[in-house]
């Protein structure tokens, strides 16, 4: 599995199923196959947890933690922020985690992970690796101070944010990761400006890169091979690392549970969620859009954006398109050969 790092970041395959872009494991060589396809996977988060049907976060966590476990020969400690993932996985006395796992508070996962890493360092247990994980609320809002501290000290922690774009655990309230115009319980689709404000946005991946930490990546449950590869790559590095994973939430987004992967893919293919990686403050690679879609394709299947389609040509759709276009330009998301 380790030689996955020697591969091109976006592996070129001649054949894929147009429409889904799914690349089955049978199309790649044995050693390039997903951790998840292996009988030896650790099942770090096991079945029986209480995640919703179609939960993007449970899927993302399953792939991410198993990949991290594989990368460190199962010598992993996971620190979990309060949130959906924590609540649905550990209703006492049950636990879905088959991994050393600790939960403390909502806003301190990065700092707790710093402490765990320090303890194992002082004890000379070099083999033990530490990851922290939380949702967008625990990462981009309440936990940002601790996260920035962990980055700045370059503590040996991999932090993963599963971004479902609102406080889903408490009933879908707005976070600083909630996109413009999205309806949440605290940005209701009422009044002259329904939904969330058009703020400036907050990209924690870019904030992480501003700390010039060794490794930053964004990933998506629409490309689980890429997600696993990034987790494994980050585990090959010591120091502060950050991976931001886009994880659709059927409940919070007002979407069908069978559309989780499709929406995650549309977020990428529209340019709304740029998938890239960076090292020491510089973007090194971005995942090219294969089949560019207008933002409506992403917005329309979601009830949180339904108010945008009540009357024709809502100007806010053009505003969202402009944001996507800016992402495409900034992260160079269209491959040269696809550019006209």
């Amino acid at each position: 599995m380790n030689n996955i790092l020697d591969l091109e970041p976006t592996q070129k395959l001649k054949f894929y199923q147009k429409g889904t872009f799914t690349v089955g494991n049978r199309l790649v060589s044995e050693e390039e196959r997903a951790v998840q396809s292996s009988m030896g996977r650790s099942n770090s988060i096991n079945c029986g947890h209480r995640g919703c049907r179609g939960c993007g976060e449970a899927l993302g966590a399953r792939f991410a933690v198993d990949a991290a476990m594989r990368a460190c020969d199962n010598n992993l400690v996971v620190v979990n922020a309060t949130g959906c993932l924590e609540v649905f996985s550990t209703p006492y006395p049950e636990s879905a985690w088959q991994v050393a796992w600790v939960h403390s508070l909502f806003g301190n996962a990065a700092a707790v992970a710093t402490g765990v890493a320090a303890a194992y360092r002082v004890k000379g247990r070099k083999e033990v690796r530490v990851m922290a994980q939380g949702g967008d609320g625990g990462t981009t809002d309440i936990g940002l101070g601790c996260l920035s501290g962990m980055f700045e000290r370059n503590d040996d922690v991999m932090y993963i944010c599963y971004d479902n774009e609102a406080y889903m655990n408490t009933g879908v309230q707005r976070s600083s990761a909630t996109p413009p115009a999205a309806r949440t319980a605290t940005t209701d689709a009422v009044g002259p400006e329904p939904g969330n404000v058009f703020g400036t946005g907050k990209s924690v991946a870019r904030i992480a890169m501003a700390h010039r930490i060794p490794y930053v990546a964004t990933a998506t449950v629409a490309d689980l091979h890429d997600l696993e590869r990034k987790v494994i790559k980050s585990m090959s590095i010591h120091g502060a690392r950050y991976i931001h994973i886009n994880v659709p939430c059927p409940l919070g987004w007002g979407a069908q549970s069978h559309d989780t992967i499709r929406l995650a893919r549309l977020a990428v293919e529209t340019g709304i969620f740029p998938v890239y990686e960076g090292e020491y403050g510089k973007v090194t690679e971005s995942r090219k859009i294969r089949d560019r879609q207008p933002v409506e394709a992403f917005l329309k299947p979601q009830r949180r954006f339904a108010h945008l389609f009540k009357k024709p040509n809502d100007p806010r759709i053009a505003q969202i398109q402009a944001i996507a276009d800016a992402n495409i330009a900034e992260f160079d998301l269209i491959a040269k050969e696809d550019q006209e």
């Binding site: 006492y92 006395p93 796992w101 600790v102 700092a111 707790v112 402490g115 320090a118 002082v122």
Partner: protein, 417 residues
């Protein structure tokens, strides 16, 4: 070894001798010299096998402490005042998880109005956070209590807050006997945690607990408080056998046998009270003293035994609850109510925001306690004219302005109005 030394420095040396493995540091007056000293010792190699982490906030400090303690490392931090409040959520979390972290509190007032000097508002604010709270009277005790605190915390898996009066102790230069490493090693064994988050034996720590088990979890947490109450005197006896001096266990008494009035107090004010008692006894007023070392657990039985048969008790408190009274007085009244002939508990609020508590004022207060005992709170050295004038002002003028600034203006220019 005897040293003439600043309290923060001697305390840092005592903590260093306890072989902490992870220290989280964030500056806040008046504890800062302690973590500065520890940071220097770690860098110089005087404290070996120790990670010194400069964190980004007190919340980060206690959170990193939680991580290192749950991973099995002996863990220390220090804070004060606003810092303690800023880390409050993690303070409760550490005790709920049963993590034996030791923290120095450079005990200090809480703003607004911002005030960096000593009173006990911060310690009292978190007295119910599930931590054990031990109060030092002088810098010898400050160091000695830390050595006992690690042993106590790790024995019962409860975090311990060692409360050291800000400036009055932290910045005072006193004679302190710094123990030897051999003696501390003999007294304090390496940390053997009851729970560790370790890939060798994976488990989930910090699960959500619902109504079906929460009461039992809390009951057991309280049970450990009972264990701590029993253990504190025993650890103190053991400490005395090794080091030749002690900190009194749960509490200490002074000239109690024939005392008509008994003061109860915590922290550095006890020295002043003892001097005042000596003076008053020469004048014929028999006052005694109970110095409370352990505020949490609150040693109700030990206090009952010490105060049984005494008529009047004066709590000299450096904090109070608005609209309620002194926290120590409330706790004491609750503890004493089962005694036959329950002593009357008077409350004297003193030394707020660093106001010196003088022998002269204490003397008058004890005399008053004998002649005309009061109800409610007596604020020692309150400038009655200033508050009367300000009450008049704020009740007659709608836009009367900020209270703090108004009072400061009156203090500076007493002739105003």
């Amino acid at each position: 070894m005897l040293k003439q030394i600043e309290g923060s420095v001697s305390t840092a040396e005592a903590i260093g001798l306890c072989r902490p493995e992870v220290i989280c540091a964030y500056p806040i007056t008046p504890q800062t010299h302690i973590v500065e000293g520890l940071g220097r010792m770690v860098k110089q190699g005087a404290i070996k096998n120790c990670e010194f982490i400069n964190v980004e906030s007190e919340f980060g400090a206690m959170s990193a402490c939680i991580g290192s303690s749950v991973a099995g490392a002996r863990t220390y931090t220090a804070t004060a005042s606003q810092g303690l409040l800023f880390m409050c959520e993690a303070v409760y979390n550490a005790s709920g998880m049963g993590l034996p972290i030791v923290m120095t509190l450079g005990v200090r007032a809480i703003g607004a109005p911002i005030n960096i000097w000593n009173d006990h508002s911060d310690a009292m604010a978190l007295r119910d956070a599930g931590w054990l709270q031990l109060f030092a009277e002088n810098n010898q005790e400050a160091g000695d209590l830390h050595i006992q605190a690690f042993k106590l915390a790790e024995a019962v898996s409860i975090p311990v807050m060692v409360c050291v009066d800000g400036f009055i102790l932290t910045h005072a230069v006193e004679r302190v006997d710094i123990p030897t490493q051999e003696d501390v090693d003999a007294y304090l064994p390496p940390f053997d945690p009851v729970q560790v988050v370790d890939p060798k034996a994976p488990m989930s720590i910090g699960s959500m607990v619902g109504p079906e088990a929460f009461t039992e979890v809390r009951w057991l947490q309280n049970y450990k408080y009972g264990q701590a109450e029993k253990m504190i005197p025993a650890l103190n006896t053991e400490f005395k056998a090794r080091f030749g001096r002690d900190t009194g266990g749960l509490l200490r008494t002074y000239k109690m046998d024939d005392a008509e009035i008994v003061a109860v107090a915590m922290g550095s004010v006890n020295g002043t009270i003892k001097d005042t008692i000596d003076q008053l006894r020469e004048e014929g007023l028999k006052v005694g003293l109970v110095t409370l070392v352990s505020y949490r657990p609150f040693p109700a039985e030990a206090l009952k035994a010490a105060l049984k048969g005494h008529k009047t008790v004066v709590c000299v408190e450096r904090a109070f609850n608005f609209g309620m009274g002194g926290p120590l007085s409330s706790d004491l009244e609750h503890a004493l109510k089962t005694l036959p002939n329950t002593p009357r508990v008077l409350t004297c609020i003193a030394g707020l925001g660093g106001r010196p508590i003088t022998r002269a004022s204490l003397r008058e207060m004890f005399k008053k306690a004998k002649k005309e005992p009061w109800n409610g709170m007596l604020f020692l050295d309150l400038n009655q004219k200033i508050v009367d004038d300000e009450v008049k002002h704020m009740t007659s003028v709608r836009k009367s302005g900020p209270l703090a600034e108004n009072v400061v203006a009156r203090v500076k220019t007493p002739a105003a109005e």
